[in-house]
């Protein structure tokens, strides 16, 4: 058990190292261009270029450059933007985290609740028209580009039907701090939550239904029937309970990935200044230091989240726990 834990943590550190190397290679060693010019941004003066070269150690060997980059991002945190001269990058990234968390957590609540309902109802009525309808709706949810869905909801709630009783409560785009204005925070986030969660409701609903239907084929379900349990109990206590392992693992991974930047498209469409939107703005300004930082922090977060999920899984699942 302890060994497995250490092994998992060791693997985590290795993957983090690999990621940082990969990021370093992408930004500093892609053949074909001068990394200093990229970092300095468009129309940089020769003096700025020189400053960039010096501060990142481009005249030194690769390993020094790598260490310099890592130090600037994780230890001293004094990486600055050259496009927005002197702007400290790490604090700027940290400022955006609460926005992303607000968005993702609300959406997660929606998608867990609704996908559980859909998965269970579809599995219970498998083969019927209810099941088929739910699965088709889920498939449509999966097939919609999230940013497009967001735009369409904006079109409806901000413009076309904004003046009707249905959507007059929708505030203009943007984010309000929870501490300043809890009601405003909630109202501005409702539509983004719905937008972000629809894909996952469809996905998780389908995954859960498939997992339940699969467990219903297991021998222990036959035992449960032979015991004389009701179908509802067999479905909820035996089939669903064993299917939840897959559901929870998937949830951990997706939640991590969303906080780590995959909510970017939703943030862009709704003008929410989260991690993703910050990265997107940096992309438009060609502000590489910001992108480097968000990519590294976000992927490290995802790796750690995955490790936490695996470790929790070890603690929760009796089969893994004693293995």
């Amino acid at each position: 058990m302890l060994l497995a834990l250490l092994q998992r943590l060791g693997q985590m550190v290795f993957v983090m190292f690999g990621i940082s190397m990969l990021v370093f290679l992408i930004f500093f060693a892609t053949p074909g261009a001068d990394p200093a010019a990229r970092i300095a941004g468009r129309n940089a003066t020769p003096e700025v270029l020189e400053a960039v070269r010096k501060s990142f150690g481009f005249d030194q060997p690769f390993y020094v450059q790598y260490l310099t980059m890592m130090k600037k991002i994780f230890i001293t945190g004094d990486l600055t933007s050259f496009v927005n001269r002197g702007w400290k990058v790490v604090p700027a990234v940290m400022d955006t985290v609460p926005v992303t968390l607000s968005l993702v957590m609300g959406a997660a609540v929606l998608w867990v609740v609704f996908s559980l309902i859909i998965g269970i109802v579809a599995a219970a009525t498998r083969g019927s028209w209810i099941d088929k309808t739910l699965m088709v709706l889920g498939l449509i949810g999966i097939s919609m580009p999230v940013y497009w869905l967001g735009e369409m909801l904006n079109l409806i709630t901000q413009s076309r039907y904004h003046d009707t009783w249905m959507f007059s409560w929708v505030p203009p785009l943007g984010y309000k701090n929870f501490s300043d204005d809890p009601k405003g925070w909630f109202l501005t986030l409702v539509i983004p939550w719905i937008t972000l969660s629809i894909l996952y409701i469809g996905l998780y609903g389908r995954v859960l239904r498939a997992a339940i239907v699969e467990s219903l084929q297991e021998d222990y379900i036959r035992t449960a029937r032979a015991k004389g349990l009701s179908e509802a109990r067999i479905l909820l206590r035996h089939a669903l309970r064993t299917s939840l392992v897959a559901f929870v693992t998937l949830f951990g991974l997706d939640f991590g990935a969303l906080v780590g930047g995959s909510a970017l498209l939703t943030e862009v469409v709704f003008g929410l200044q989260g991690v993703g939107k910050l990265t997107y703005d940096a992309l438009l300004n060609l502000d590489l230091p910001i992108i480097m930082t968000t990519v590294l922090y976000a992927s490290f977060f995802v790796v750690m989240a995955n490790a936490v999920v695996d470790i929790l899984y070890m603690l929760i699942d009796p089969r893994v726990r004693t293995a």
Binding site: R222, T223, R225, A226, G228
Partner: protein, 316 residues
């Protein structure tokens, strides 16, 4: 107590209809142990699953009559069947490794069945689970009740499954090859246990196996099945002493003798059981039978007596 008449179970498949069980009839008396033997695919498990109402495949068609203490079970509402199942008719399955839900403790799973059929408190149900574990000779039952299935050996798990089946003192117990998946020594222990439990509880048992050796130890009366039909029936002594059907004979020849010099080679039955799809006319065993003759191209009938065999060598 259990009367099965002309039971047929067919499955609709892509290739056509498969008659897994075809016109099977048998009876089980109170407290009796009926042994059902046959190779895999002979329909023995499917017919007993039909008795339990456990065939959930939507492509299955069940016909005939199954009467339990005068009640017709074929076509019985699932709710009414559920009340019987687990309480009056219980079942033990072949593979104890997969028969228990992996995420609950074994005590919980036994108590669950008790609670489903009896109005008692959770604490009482838990105590009953511990008592049952003790009854099936599980050491330290209080601790064992807290264990998850994967923490127990195959033999221990089968004991748990048996404890669960006995939890409501069923009048009829269906045991589907309960020892096949176990080691030989554990097999003997489980058989001993079933003997003891049978004496204590007085349940009637239907014991399914492909192993004539196991039959020799425990059965009162026997049923030999082949290709979805009963080919011979009678008491154990009759069948072992004077097998009437060549198939029964062949099954007996394939048991290793317990004493004396071991033969260099056991006689295996040549060929494989027939495919049940588009079954050809005539005796299904004929292609593998050493004693076949021209009459075998017709369908032999099983007589109505307590002792009968579906073979023209007998009736002729």
């Amino acid at each position: 107590m259990l009367k099965v008449r002309d039971l047929s179970v067919s499955f609709r498949t892509e290739q056509g209809i498969v008659r897994a069980v075809d016109g099977v009839s048998f009876e089980v008396g109170e407290g009796e142990l009926l042994g059902v033997v046959g190779e895999s695919g002979s329909g023995k498990t499917v017919s007993l699953l039909a008795v339990m109402g456990l065939i959930t495949d939507p492509n299955a068609i069940i016909a005939g009559s199954i009467q339990y203490r005068g009640r017709e079970l074929v076509g019985l509402k699932s709710r009414a069947m559920r009340v019987l199942r687990g309480k009056e008719i219980a079942m033990i399955f072949q593979d104890p490794m997969t028969a228990l839900t992996p995420v609950y403790t074994v005590g919980w799973q036994i108590a669950e069945q008790v609670l489903a059929h009896q109005r008692i408190s959770k604490a009482a149900a838990w105590q009953r689970a511990i008592d049952l574990l003790a009854e099936v000779n599980i050491p330290k039952p209080e601790e064992a009740a807290h264990r998850y299935p994967h923490q127990l050996s195959g033999g221990m798990r089968q004991r748990v499954v048996i404890a669960m089946a006995l939890s409501c003192n069923p009048a009829l117990l269906v045991a589907d090859e309960p020892t096949t998946a176990l080691d030989v020594t554990v097999q003997a222990q489980i058989l001993d246990l079933l003997h003891k439990l049978r004496r204590n509880h007085g349940s009637a048992i239907v014991f399914i196996t492909h192993d004539m050796g196991v039959m020799a130890e425990i059965a009162d009366r026997m049923l030999v099945m082949y290709a979805g039909r009963v080919v011979e029936r009678g008491t154990k002594e009759e069948l072992f002493r004077v097998p009437m059907h060549p198939y029964t004979q062949a099954l007996l020849d394939s048991i290793p003798p317990l004493t004396g010099e071991k033969p260099r080679r056991l006689r295996a039955i040549p060929g494989t059981p027939p495919i049940l799809l588009n079954r050809p006319p005539g005796c299904a065993f004929a292609p593998r039978c050493a004693q076949r003759f021209e009459k075998c191209s017709a369908e032999p009938e099983l007589g109505n007596g307590e002792r009968a065999a579906a073979c023209f060598r007998v009736t002729a």
